[in-house]
């Protein structure tokens, strides 16, 4: 009888998806935040290179990619809600749509990198492009990891492993997925718009 309030208190304290995935969220946002700081510091020291590099970026493609990623976030959020409500088939559909948006983001990012390669722009060309490839490349790796996670979650939902009574892994994977949105929402304006 005495233990029940403690369990309730834990449940209230724990964020959706569990504490561990949120520790990852904080560390990743902190790391990319530091990366953004370095990017902006370098922009002061190499103003001409950053101006030239900024002009060579494909703004419309990055804009479309932002819309794609936000749409993926919406799909995943709906997927988690549907699973909690016991709506297995819609949950699976939403998670699969989220996976598709992740893959679309990766393809568009590949097109963007391909453009740079065709213009003879490489990782070590100048301070701007070193930072650009580092920040966007690490972010892309996170998106790909999230896609793999969602793939396994979709399989689990399809097989009945995850359902309304057992969905914490799907929630945690969703949090990781949304973390990619958070990071991109900081990177996109700093790299492409400012």
């Amino acid at each position: 009888m005495k233990e029940a309030p403690a369990i309730e208190a834990d449940a209230a304290w724990e964020p959706p998806g569990g504490v561990l995935v949120w520790i990852i969220v904080f560390l990743e946002v902190l790391t990319f935040g530091a990366g953004i700081g370095v990017f902006l510091f370098q922009a002061r020291d190499h103003a001409a290179e950053f101006q030239r590099g900024h002009e060579l970026l494909n703004q419309p493609l990055a804009f479309i990619n932002t819309l794609v990623l936000l749409t993926g976030g919406w799909c995943m959020a709906n997927g988690v809600v549907a699973l909690r409500c016991g709506l297995q088939a819609p949950a699976l559909r939403w998670v699969r749509l989220a996976i598709l948006t992740g893959l679309a983001f990766a393809v568009l990012k590949g097109i963007e990198y391909g453009e740079k390669a065709r213009h003879g722009i490489g990782f070590a060309d100048d301070a701007f492009f070193t930072q650009y490839f580092l920040l966007t490349g690490f972010h892309l790796m996170h998106v790909l990891v999230a896609v793999v996670l969602l793939f396994f979650m979709a399989r689990g939902i399809q097989s009945g492993r995850y359902h309304s009574g057992d969905h914490e892994n799907v929630e945690a994977s969703g949090i990781f997925w949304h973390m990619c949105d958070l990071i991109w929402l900081l990177l996109y304006p700093v790299i492409y718009l400012l």
Partner: protein
């Protein structure tokens, strides 16, 4: 389909269009960063359901966001 999620998603898309339209204008930098901050908060609050967790989590993530945006504003 969750109605609140859809409203937030549409809001995020509209704000992204607004940011894109303002891109490249140095005078709009603070507005672009402010929009990024609001979008960040909306994703965390609605999609990541931070609203359901203890307020401390929102305060910590919000604090981190404010520090990053402040650094960006100072260094831009």
């Amino acid at each position: 389909m969750n109605r609140a999620n859809t409203i937030v998603w549409l809001t995020l898309l509209i704000m992204t269009v607004a940011s894109f339209a303002m891109g490249g204008h140095r005078t709009a930098a603070w507005m672009i960063l402010a929009l990024a901050g609001v979008k960040f908060a909306l994703v965390a609050w609605q999609f990541m359901e931070l609203r359901k967790a203890m307020a401390l989590w929102s305060v910590m993530l919000g604090g981190l966001l404010v520090v990053i945006l402040a650094v960006a504003m100072i260094l831009r």
